[in-house]
């Protein structure tokens, strides 16, 4: 497997792909902000945001399944919020007997937990869509436009450039280890010369150390090569392309929609409660 398969960008020529990266970044951030600011249990507003995201997904043609699958990665984290089910006061639905008493599950707690999970899920979809429709270098340029320090953006672009190179090296190290040692007895009962857990951890540490030295020496070669090509410490980059009318239009429309959803659900009708 070539490691480039890891990149989450899905090439395409849809309307969403062609939009300016700055617009996409700002709109994604504002959508996440809206999701955070929406009151709990405003289910209709959540539904509208989901419809919006679904619409963008369909227009971008990256695949509804892909976005949903990727968005599920953060679901394990919901465990951290599970505790609100028990500590929020409200009508007790049922209780779980535990040694020394019982934990009461309240209706308010359950609704609160669901709200957190749904809002988180909406936010992740926005981030997934952003990454799937925007090449990472364009995203970095957009961040520069939003005032992220130039040096940090430069470090980010080096990271992106060499991430896949070094990930390939890491995979080679893993393959070499697999061929030799450091695995516990596998399911098929083939006995491998893997030893205790600390030993396995230290072997992995040795791999990390060797990868570090390779990376460090690579960075020295890169720096020398940059010097040879006239690098003087100044990170230069192309100036950002001008925003087109269509970028302004779609950006404004998206922001307006988000604002309407937010205002109505916060200060308007009490939806869905």
């Amino acid at each position: 497997m070539h490691i480039h398969a890891l990149d989450t960008y899905r090439p395409g020529s849809s309307l969403v792909h062609r939009l300016d990266a700055r617009v996409k970044l700002v709109v994604a951030l504002l959508l996440i902000l809206t999701a955070v600011l929406l009151p709990e249990q405003s289910w209709l507003a959540y539904g509208l945001l989901q419809a919006l995201l679904l619409g963008v997904t369909i227009v971008s043609r990256v695949g509804v399944g892909l976005v949903q699958r990727r968005a599920a990665v953060a679901l394990p984290f919901t465990l951290a919020a599970l505790t609100v089910v028990f500590v929020t006061p409200g009508q007790v639905l049922f209780s779980i007997p535990v040694p020394g008493g019982a934990w009461a599950v309240s209706d308010a707690g359950l609704l609160r937990f669901l709200s957190i999970v749904v809002r988180s899920y909406l936010s992740i979809q926005a981030a997934v869509l952003l990454a799937a429709t925007t090449p990472f270098p364009a995203l970095l340029q957009a961040m520069r436009a939003l005032g992220i320090p130039r040096t940090l953006v430069a470090i980010g672009s080096f990271l992106y450039r060499y991430l896949f190179v070094l990930a390939d090296e890491a995979q080679r190290l893993l393959r070499a280890r697999e061929a030799r040692a450091a695995l516990p007895r596998t399911a098929d009962r083939v006995r491998r010369p893997g030893r205790s857990l600390p030993w396995r951890a230290c072997v992995t540490g040795g791999m990390a150390g060797s990868l570090f030295i390779r990376s460090y020496e690579r960075s020295e070669r890169i720096y020398t090569a940059m010097l040879a090509r006239g690098y003087d410490g100044e990170i230069r980059s192309f100036s950002l392309p001008a925003m087109r009318a269509v970028d302004w239009l779609w950006g404004a429309a998206a922001i307006l929609t988000l604002a309407v959803i937010l205002i109505l659900s916060r200060w308007g009708v009490r939806w869905g409660t």
């Binding site: 394990p76 505790t83 609100v84 028990f86 672009s157 990271l159 070094l166 857990l197 060797s210």
Partner: protein
């Protein structure tokens, strides 16, 4: 249920939706201050080599996180890297590399949220390297130029950085009202006390190899480098500040919601779910949780103390041997 929380690998990357706006913004401000300082200081140290070196080494941390080792039952441990980076590159440079790693993880792989990125940077790229490096430097200072100082410092530093970062994440969730801190903090810290051991072992393995192959690289952050005690003090201060904040996190309403409430425009929207979180309804857990927090704090200080104590003993013995 509790066992389930304990044994599932809770990732430390907080996704969006779990932090309230005020907590997210506050963390962004703290993270920006830390990263800004790191940018300035490492520019001073590295000069024009900064961007290529930091960039490639950030890619290294990213790739090194792919190196996992089988633990048991299909689970595996892998490196997080804050302390290893700090030991090899120094604290400022490691803060920068970890910042870009966390940012790219969120932007490219949705590992951690965008709005929550400030908090993730604060935990994994500012607090973790500071605490890890502080402990590492403390032990190395005591050990002098001896090799065990490098290894022990690496292990304890890596362990402490992971645990403290997870405690910081639990505190942020507590302040946001998305997690009952009395349960979340012991659970997160408990899981990461174990994860930290793996982190420590990998860090030791890596440092041992680098010190054999390129001893010049670990010397840079070694016992001879200036300002060692200051870093140890900074690391301890960060850890202590977190432990002092943690009790405040549980009864806290969301700050911004509170302001909105005071200004009187929130009632129209909804009945306040952000009322002060009441006393825990877990029977007996309330006190137990506080006890666990206290135990965690005492434990951290004890481990630190023991590490430093062992180091001091060793030093006395070896210097005595030198004298005789």
């Amino acid at each position: 249920m509790f066992a389930h929380v304990l044994f599932s690998p809770i990732p430390m990357h907080i996704p969006d939706g779990f932090l309230s706006l005020s907590v997210a913004v506050f963390c962004w401000l703290l993270a920006a201050a830390g990263v800004g300082l790191a940018l300035w200081r490492s520019r001073h140290d590295l000069g024009q080599q900064q961007a290529p070196l930091m960039g490639v080494l950030a890619a290294f941390i990213f790739a090194a996180q792919m190196l996992n080792f089988p633990v048991a039952g299909g689970t595996s441990g892998h490196l997080i890297g804050g302390t290893l980076a700090a030991a090899l590159l120094g604290p400022w440079a490691s803060m920068l590399t970890m910042t870009t790693v966390v940012a790219v993880q969120a932007l490219l792989f949705q590992d951690g949220g965008l709005l929550a990125m400030g908090a993730n940077i604060l935990n994994m790229a500012v607090i973790a390297p500071l605490v890890g490096y502080g402990v590492y430097r403390g032990v190395r200072l005591l050990a002098g130029e001896r090799r065990w100082g490098l290894l022990l410092g690496g292990f304890v530093g890596a362990w402490a950085s992971v645990v403290v970062a997870s405690v910081a994440a639990a505190i942020q969730l507590g302040f946001s009202g998305t997690s009952a801190i009395g349960v979340a903090l012991p659970a997160m810290a408990g899981v990461h006390v174990l994860i930290g051991i793996g982190e420590g072992l990998i860090t030791v393995g890596a440092l041992a190899l680098v010190s054999q192959v390129r001893p010049d690289l670990v010397k840079a952050g070694g016992a001879g480098a200036p300002g060692g005690l200051r870093w140890t003090a900074v690391g301890l201060l960060v850890a202590l500040a977190l432990t002092l904040i943690s009790p405040l996190a549980s009864p806290s309403p969301d700050g911004l919601e509170r302001v909105a409430e005071d200004l009187g425009f929130i009632e129209a929207a909804q009945s306040a779910p952000y009322e002060i979180i009441p006393d825990y309804v877990f029977p007996g857990i309330s006190n137990e949780a506080l006890a666990t927090i206290a135990a965690g704090v005492v434990g951290t200080i004890l481990v630190f103390g023991i590490a430093v104590g062992i180091a001091a003993l060793y030093r006395r013995r070896s210097s005595a041997r030198l004298v005789s």
